[in-house]
């Protein structure tokens, strides 16, 4: 049980800045995701929160206590790594109970706790088995058991499902989330997989090149990205970006690309120069009479939906439509963009322009 507050935390390794000054708060009981591509600083951030790395500057508060310069052993947290390291010569029960025994708990008390944890994880029937012969899933459950048995204030997980194959990964991610919901303990989780982050997280921090690009609840980040980076990193396929040169005024809800005028949420600031019109694939409707035209160059069947790629004057656009809708490669068709969902970006900075729709949800670090 813990609230974790990061204030202006920064980390340098020699001349290299791994994490630029960052601030965000993990509320008590949240499942909190640190998301970004490799090298973005998410693991370094997690390691600083856990005390495995000390920040160059800034403060870290766990339940109001400043712990920034304290090592992990003094923070009462548990860390679960991608590669689960178990003691091969011990059975499952001894592996789970090890942290308790090494803290000096009596064998009888430890045994009681181990059985309780094993029941939560559904592995009480294998407590006497050697870990050597276990399946990947059971090994992962044992590693989790060893982390939760101490009842730490918070869990830190660094891509714990990264090494598993897709089918099993989906199953384990559900199990992990369900476990969290039963125990209610604060969990901070690092991943590069945007779908995993959306699926499991109560809140997400998106990082790129050491900078916190945005944090908030998953759907808000998806709907109203603060930067172009977030818009393309989250969503598959990513948001479509139509580059254009022009000017928009504060208060306007119309923008002209080429000869076509498009609606959008009213802007709270104006801009001019190189701009980007952003629209997500599922907010595009193919409509033969719409004036903005594209030629279909590819279709990808996905079961319920299909992805249609279109060549347009502003580059390739991908639309997600129902799989029973007609879309033939080679055909020219019109496109309609849902005006309520549009985001404009400044090309140079990649920053989203403030509008009536996204004000209030753009939280930068």
């Amino acid at each position: 049980m813990a609230q974790i507050r990061i204030e202006n935390v920064r980390k340098e390794f020699g001349a290299f800045t791994a994490v630029e000054s960052s601030s965000f708060t993990v509320e008590d009981g949240e499942f909190f995701m640190l998301l970004g591509p490799s090298g973005c600083g998410k693991t370094t951030t997690l390691r600083m929160m856990a005390g495995l790395e000390l920040p160059t500057s800034g403060e870290i508060y766990i339940d109001g206590e400043e712990v920034g310069q304290k090592p992990a052993s003094q923070r009462d947290i548990a860390f679960v790594f991608q590669m689960f390291a178990l003691y091969p010569h011990m059975n499952v029960g001894k592996n789970i109970g090890y942290p308790l025994i090494s803290q000096g708990m009596s064998r009888a008390d430890a045994r009681k706790k181990v059985v309780e944890v094993a029941r939560i994880l559904g592995i009480e029937n294998i407590l006497n088995r050697r870990v050597g012969g276990l399946s990947g899933g059971d090994r992962q459950r044992v590693a989790l058991g060893r982390a939760i048995v101490r009842e730490p204030k918070a869990f830190f997980m660094d891509e714990p499902l990264g090494a598993l194959d897709a089918e099993f990964r989906e199953h384990m991610s559900e199990e992990l989330r369900a476990l969290h919901d039963r125990m209610g303990s604060t969990t901070v989780y690092v991943t590069h997989d945007q779908l995993e982050a959306m699926q499991m997280g109560d809140k997400i921090v998106v990082m790129d090149q050491g900078v916190v690009e945005q944090f908030g609840v998953p759907q808000e980040i998806y709907d109203w990205p603060a930067t172009r980076f977030v818009a393309q990193f989250i969503g598959s396929p990513p948001m479509n970006f139509l580059d254009f040169h022009g000017a928009v005024d504060k208060g306007t809800s119309k923008v002209t690309l080429g000869e076509t005028e498009f609606g959008m949420p009213p802007l709270l600031e104006g801009a001019r120069g190189d701009l980007i019109f952003g629209v997500r694939p599922e907010h595009i409707r193919l409509d033969s009479v719409a004036p903005y035209k594209g030629r279909i160059v590819a279709t990808e069947y996905l079961g319920t939906t299909q992805i249609v790629s279109l060549d347009t004057p502003n580059g390739t656009i991908k639309a997600r439509i129902e799989s029973h809708e007609k879309a033939r490669v080679g055909d020219v068709t019109g496109m309609h963009f849902d005006p309520r969902t549009v985001t404009l970006f400044e090309a140079a900075s990649g920053r989203a322009l403030l509008s009536e729709a996204n004000q209030g949800v753009l939280h930068h670090g």
């Binding site: 997500r280 996905l302 079961g303």
Partner: protein, 331 residues
């Protein structure tokens, strides 16, 4: 390019049966993706065609010619593996040229240059042609190894999870590229993957393997919309198809044991109540984890649903699948 057939191919490794009388035809000019969990026999099938392994029983033929006794080099196949294997002391250009420089082919240098530049463009590595292979990132090395197969014009391309080590964006780009290269060139490809999006989007045909046997062969749409069994139905679709006792809902045929419901086969707002256990906002859609008469199921609803965990929602089947006691589809 050529048609490839396997007839009654069996292969065991010690006590493990990898292929069990597998019969499959890869039509000329098709893009066939093999699907199945680890151990279903996907990679072994590739190795049988390539000649890296030899069947215990049965035959492999390429373009109507029996391959028995022929080495990989004699079979005119091009392979791409999950783990890239490049010549580290050569540049990217030299690696790509290598298959064309074989004394067997005697390809003129002008033609080689043309081909290498074209393939490098497709794979977005033109600017790296003069780099040493070892100076590339993992994703770039994998593109070079795909490129090395593409510069050739073999009877068949054999690919074993070639995109699995690449990042999501590049994977999405290459999916579209591979499909268009295949369609334009009329290439025959046999492709193994765990990734069902790759299978659905690229394949002209999907072969579903179960314990070394082919259990269904058809277009991705056929496998998705008309699966022959629970096993085949579970290969495609995200979230996975829900398999529940048929007796939970009225209207099941007499010998139906299980009912199969993909999200689009679950009508919301009608029927009996289910409890919302968890709501996952994925951006473009929202997943609902439901409990219906003590059974868990997952369905999909619109992105901005008001539903929260603890709410109830009525559901009923819409054109569901029914399966018998053996998991075979009966309706």
């Amino acid at each position: 390019m050529a048609e490839v057939t396997l007839t009654g191919v069996s292969k065991a490794f010690g006590k493990d049966v990898a292929l069990d009388g597998l019969t499959i035809t890869i039509p000329d000019g098709s893009f066939v993706v093999l699907l199945g969990p680890t151990g279903a026999g996907k990679t072994t099938t590739l190795r049988m065609v390539s000649g890296l392994d030899v069947p215990d029983k049965g035959h492999v033929s390429i373009g109507g010619q029996d391959m028995t006794g022929l080495t990989p080099a004699q079979r005119d196949v091009a392979m791409v593996f999950q783990q890239y294997s490049l010549y580290p002391h050569l540049t990217v250009r030299q690696n790509l040229e290598f298959p064309l420089k074989s004394p067997l082919h005697k390809t003129p240098q002008k033609e080689i240059d043309l081909k290498v530049n074209e393939v490098a463009g497709i794979l977005q590595i033109s600017h790296k042609l003069d780099n040493k292979a070892t100076a590339l990132s993992g994703g770039e090395m994998q593109r070079v190894s795909i490129g090395r197969a593409l510069v050739r014009n073999p009877s068949i391309y054999l690919m074993d999870e070639p995109l699995s080590s690449l990042d999501a964006k590049l994977r999405a780009d290459l999916r579209v590229e591979m499909k268009s290269i295949q369609a334009k060139a009329g290439a025959t490809i046999l492709y193994v993957t765990h990734d069902q999006v790759e299978a659905m989007t690229m394949a002209t045909h999907v072969g579903v393997l179960d314990h070394g046997k082919l259990v269904q062969f058809g277009t991705p749409r056929e496998i998705y919309e008309e699966p022959v069994s629970i096993y085949a139905a579970s290969r495609l679709g995200q979230p996975r198809i829900n398999i529940l006792p048929a007796s939970l809902f009225s209207g099941a045929p007499e010998n139906a044991v299980d009912i199969g419901l993909r999200p689009e086969q679950i009508k919301q707002g009608e029927g009996e109540s289910s409890l919302v256990r968890r709501v996952e906002h994925l951006g473009d859609q929202t997943r609902l984890h439901l409990v219906f008469k003590d059974h868990n199921l997952i369905t999909v609803t619109n992105a901005h649903t008001e539903l929260k965990s603890g709410d109830t929602v009525k559901i009923c089947p819409r054109n569901p699948f029914y399966f018998d006691a053996n998991g075979a589809r009966i309706a």
